[in-house]
Every structure is written in structure tokens, then in C-alpha cells.
């Protein structure tokens, strides 16, 4: 098959599709966390990439410091980093409630730089390897290609966590509180619900999603301080395309854009790094609120 002057083999196509789905898994998890946070706090959380990186580092410390393996890290790292997020919300972000969102944007951006700088100072810019857990080593032979077991696991884990988050927000009582407080926090408080605590937990939860993605990423990419900064620009583009604060939009857009990026690598590799931003520009021109966003 020849497109744009490139000869393409089927295995190359499937390979890039798979990489696209994996990247999409990370985009979806990260943009979902951003959407959850933005919906409730109207904060554009620029520290999201730093928390993602911290998730991977916590997994690394747990393994090499405490001997706790990958499966422990998958549970503990989101809890630990999420708790740090909750503290950040209580200490800093809470004080900016009611101000222009620009302030919290600057604050989280500054936090991201500080966190990343500290990690770089202590651990250097180069990566530290994190081994794939032995249960997930190896590959399946799908006939037309080999699927590394770990990559399949990442897609599955991300899809399950995204779906569960969507389910909680759209179908449960807790989710109803969240959606109601997004619309009118004062009235939800007037029903006797402790909205400030809910805001803290929500921020912690969004951050925990980022840390979960970080743990998933640790065996694929190396654990390094710059890993968050690398991915976060694309994730913000995904959030803009999906529509700020849209839960379903962030999940679907995350996976779809990962695949589009992968396909672009096959058909027109020169554009693979820019295609997401081109789509973002087009969406902003046609639908400024994003594909799934509601007009404000």
C-alpha cells in the first residue's frame, strides 16, 4: 500500500495503531483527571504532568525502597500522590477560589516547574528503568502482529478506570453531588453537604488519576523528571478538543486522538507531532466549546 509516497506494510499499520491506542490510553486518563478538576474547581491544573511524573517516581521508590512491587504501586502511588494533591488544594488552591482562573493556572504552572526542577536536581534528567512485572511480560501472537502483553494491559486498565470514573460521576449519588456542585456550589452547601471537603477530594482524585497513569507509564517509558512535561502539552490539546470539563468528551477524545496520531505516523510521519494541534486549531475555529463541550 502506497500513500503520500510511503510504502506501508500491514504490520506497520497495526503497530502504529497499537501505539496510538496506548498513547490514547494515557491521553484519556490524564485529560479525564483534568476534566474532573476543571468541572468542579474551574482550575486549569498545569501541575497535572508533574503529578503524573510523581506517580511513576513513587512506583520506583516503592519498588527499590520498600520492595513493594508494581501491583502495590498501582494502588499506593495514586493514593499517596492524590493525598499530596489534596494538601496542595488545601494549602494553596483553596485560597484562590473566587479569583480569576488565571491565578490558579499560574500557581499550578509554577508548582509544576518547582516539582520537576526538584526531581531533576536529585535524580538527574536521564531516566531510570522500571521493569515490566513478570505477570505481564511477553507477547501474544495475534496472527497479523505480536501484541506485547503489557501494552494490552495498559489499554485495558486505562479503559476500565476511565469507564469506572464516568460511571461514578454520571450514575451515582456521589456523582450527582459533584455535578450539582459544579452548577451551584452554594445551593449544594445549603442542603447540608460539605462542599469545600468535596472540592479537596475531587482535586485529589483528579491528581490520583494522573499518578495512576504515571505508574502505568513507568515500565513503558523510563521514569524521569521530564516525562510529565513531554506529554502534558498534547493532553491539554486533547482537553480543548474534547471540551473543558466534559467527562465523556475527555475519554473519547483521548483515545481517538491517540489513534489519529498513530495513523498519521504511518501515512504522513512528518505531521505526527503536530496533527493533534492542527485538529485543536480547527475545532477551536468551528466549535470553540470543544466537541463535547456545552456552551457556557
Amino acid at each position: 500500500m502506497t500513500i503520500f509516497g510511503h510504502t506501508i506494510s500491514m504490520s506497520q499499520l497495526y503497530g502504529q495503531l497499537l501505539i496510538g491506542l496506548i498513547n490514547g490510553s494515557f491521553y484519556a486518563l490524564l485529560s479525564l483527571g483534568l476534566a474532573v478538576i476543571f468541572g468542579m474547581l474551574t482550575i486549569v491544573n498545569f501541575a497535572h504532568g508533574a503529578f503524573y511524573m510523581m506517580g511513576a517516581f513513587v512506583a520506583y521508590f516503592l519498588l527499590h525502597g520498600l520492595g513493594l512491587n508494581y501491583w502495590w504501586a498501582l494502588i499506593l502511588a495514586p493514593l499517596i500522590v492524590g493525598a499530596i494533591g489534596a494538601i496542595v488544594e488545601r494549602l494553596f488552591l483553596k485560597r484562590l477560589a473566587g479569583f480569576d482562573p488565571l491565578y490558579s493556572l499560574l500557581l499550578t504552572f509554577g508548582l509544576a516547574l518547582i516539582i520537576q526542577g526538584l526531581f531533576q536536581n536529585y535524580f538527574g534528567a536521564s531516566g531510570m528503568p522500571y521493569a515490566i512485572p513478570k505477570q505481564l511480560a511477553g507477547a501474544y501472537n495475534l496472527g497479523f502482529m505480536f501484541l506485547p502483553v503489557y501494552r494490552g494491559w495498559v489499554i485495558l486498565a486505562s479503559a476500565v478506570v476511565c469507564f469506572a470514573t464516568w460511571l461514578i460521576i454520571e450514575k451515582t449519588k456521589l456523582g450527582a453531588y459533584l455535578r450539582a456542585a459544579t452548577e451551584n456550589p452554594t445551593m449544594v452547601r445549603a442542603f447540608g453537604i460539605n462542599v469545600p471537603r468535596m472540592v479537596t477530594v475531587t482535586y485529589g482524585f483528579g491528581v490520583a488519576l494522573a499518578a495512576f497513569a504515571g505508574v502505568l507509564a513507568a515500565p513503558i517509558n523510563q521514569v524521569r523528571p521530564g516525562m510529565g512535561a513531554d506529554i502534558i502539552a498534547v493532553v491539554f490539546a486533547v482537553v480543548v478538543i474534547g471540551g473543558m470539563g466534559s467527562i465523556l468528551g475527555s475519554i473519547v477524545t483521548g483515545f481517538v486522538l491517540g489513534v489519529i496520531e498513530g495513523l498519521t505516523k504511518v501515512f504522513y510521519p512528518e505531521a505526527s507531532n503536530t496533527v493533534v494541534f492542527v485538529i485543536m486549531a480547527i475545532v477551536l475555529l468551528i466549535r470553540p466549546t470543544g466537541l463535547f463541550g456545552r456552551a457556557a
Binding site: N184, M187, A190, F191, G192
Partner: protein, 250 residues
């Protein structure tokens, strides 16, 4: 209308001696503007008390200040023996103060059912069963699956009242429940409030619709420029008419 009024007033508890809400010297601000200049009012158990006054007199602010929704307030608000000044909004709600705002605040991103079940129960005793709520507002049962944003004004008002009956709060603050509604809906709201009173709810009502209020209220407080300028019982209403017309500009 008259029959309804008699029914409502007939049950006026003569024994209404226990003060549920006692407000003294309440002052409140919105940002820099000083809205309430020292409100004194009291509501006894089982009473319907109505705040009258022109637009901007401070009626809504009085309810919001009791609920804790204004940022700055001083004075004393004692509810059920507890001082509410200094407590956050959600704690005040948990003490049993329920608020139905003028704008109704139905959540558009929630279904009618989710709206109805949103407020968590604050007390098992006195909570109205869902069946009873549907008997008061039959329309709501049919609209349960609808989105909160799809309701008519009347349905929104019914849902807003229904929502706070489920929680076990026995003290309701209703801000202009008839505003912008058709006469037939206003009658239904009126019958509902009369029924709530019969069932022993205590109600602090803000109303522009003076005729509506006169059929329900045991006592009136008249507000002007953030102060209470007059108070009287329903039985004194006739005698006060001229002065009221002047104060309310109706």
C-alpha cells in the same frame, strides 16, 4: 380562595408558644454594600410567617443571612436553641434549616429524580415519604426521568419545594414561591403550603403576592431599607390595609 384561606387559618396553633427561630440585630453585607441594618424577628413552631416589602427591601437577604449564604453577617440568629452566626452554610442546613431560593436552583445537569433525592437526610423524624411528596405534587412522578432543565416554571417550583421536604427539616424558608407562575399553579402551591402547615412545618415565607400571603400567614413582618418597620398578626390585617398599601406601594 376563601375556603382555602379558612382551612389554613383554622389550624393556626393557638399553642404556638415555642420559638423556633429568633433573629436579633441581624446585619448583613453584600461585598461593600450594607443591606440589613439590624433585623429582629421571631418564628414560633408551626407558624407561617411572611416577610413583606418592596423590591430591594432586604427580604431575600434576610433569608440568605439566616442560611449563612451572605459572606458577612453580625447579630444573632438562634435556631432551635443554637446560635447560627459563625457556622458555615452546610452546618446550618444540618441543624434543620431548609431554604428554597427565589431562582429555584434546579440542577439542569441532574434528572428530576436526582434533584429530588439530592439533599441528604438530616433527621429521620419528620421526613416526608416520597409517596406523600408525590401525593402533593403528582406532576413530579411523571417527570422523574426528565432532565432538571426541561421543567416548566411551575414544575421547577414544585420540585424545589419537594426537594427540601424529604430531608426531615421542619423549618422551611421559601423565597417567592409564586413568582412568575400561572394562577392555577399559584393555587396549587398555596394548597401545598397550607397542607405543610397542617402537618406542623414551620414556614418563613417571602412574598410579593400579598393576596397569596394573606391567605396563609399567621403573622407578617414588613421590611423597608433593610429594617423591620412593622409587624402584626393576620387578624389585624384589615385594619392595617391602608398603611400596608403605602409601605408596599401596591
Amino acid at each position: 380562595m376563601l375556603g382555602m384561606a379558612e382551612a389554613a387559618l383554622a389550624r393556626t396553633p393557638a399553642a404556638a408558644d415555642k420559638t423556633v427561630l429568633s433573629v436579633k440585630g441581624l446585619q448583613a453585607w453584600y461585598n461593600e454594600s450594607h443591606i440589613l441594618h439590624g433585623i429582629d424577628l421571631d418564628v414560633r413552631e408551626g407558624e407561617v410567617v411572611t416577610l413583606l416589602g418592596r423590591n430591594g427591601a432586604g427580604k431575600t437577604t434576610t433569608l440568605k443571612a439566616i442560611m449563612g449564604i451572605v459572606r458577612k453577617r453580625i447579630g444573632s440568629v438562634v435556631f432551635d436553641g443554637k446560635e447560627l452566626i459563625g457556622l458555615p452554610i452546610d452546618r446550618i442546613a444540618r441543624h434543620g434549616v431548609a431554604f428554597c431560593p427565589e431562582e429555584r436552583a434546579i440542577f439542569a445537569s441532574l434528572s428530576v429524580k436526582e434533584n429530588l433525592f439530592l439533599p441528604p437526610p438530616i433527621s429521620k423524624a419528620g421526613a416526608m415519604s416520597v409517596e406523600h411528596i408525590f401525593s402533593l405534587f403528582p406532576n413530579l412522578r411523571e417527570r422523574l426521568a426528565s432532565g432538571g432543565g426541561k421543567l416548566s416554571g411551575g414544575e421547577q417550583q414544585m420540585l424545589a419545594i419537594a426537594r427540601i421536604l424529604r430531608t426531615g427539616a421542619r423549618f422551611l424558608m421559601l423565597d417567592e414561591p409564586t413568582e412568575g407562575l400561572a394562577p392555577v399553579i399559584i393555587q396549587q402551591i398555596g394548597r401545598t403550603i397550607a397542607e405543610l402547615k397542617r402537618e406542623g412545618f414551620t414556614i418563613l415565607l417571602v412574598e410579593q403576592n400579598f393576596r397569596f400571603a394573606s391567605t396563609l400567614a399567621d403573622r407578617f413582618f414588613v421590611m423597608e431599607h433593610g429594617r423591620i418597620i412593622d409587624t402584626f398578626a393576620n387578624s389585624e390585617l384589615e385594619a392595617r390595609m391602608d398603611r400596608l398599601h403605602e409601605a408596599l406601594g401596591v
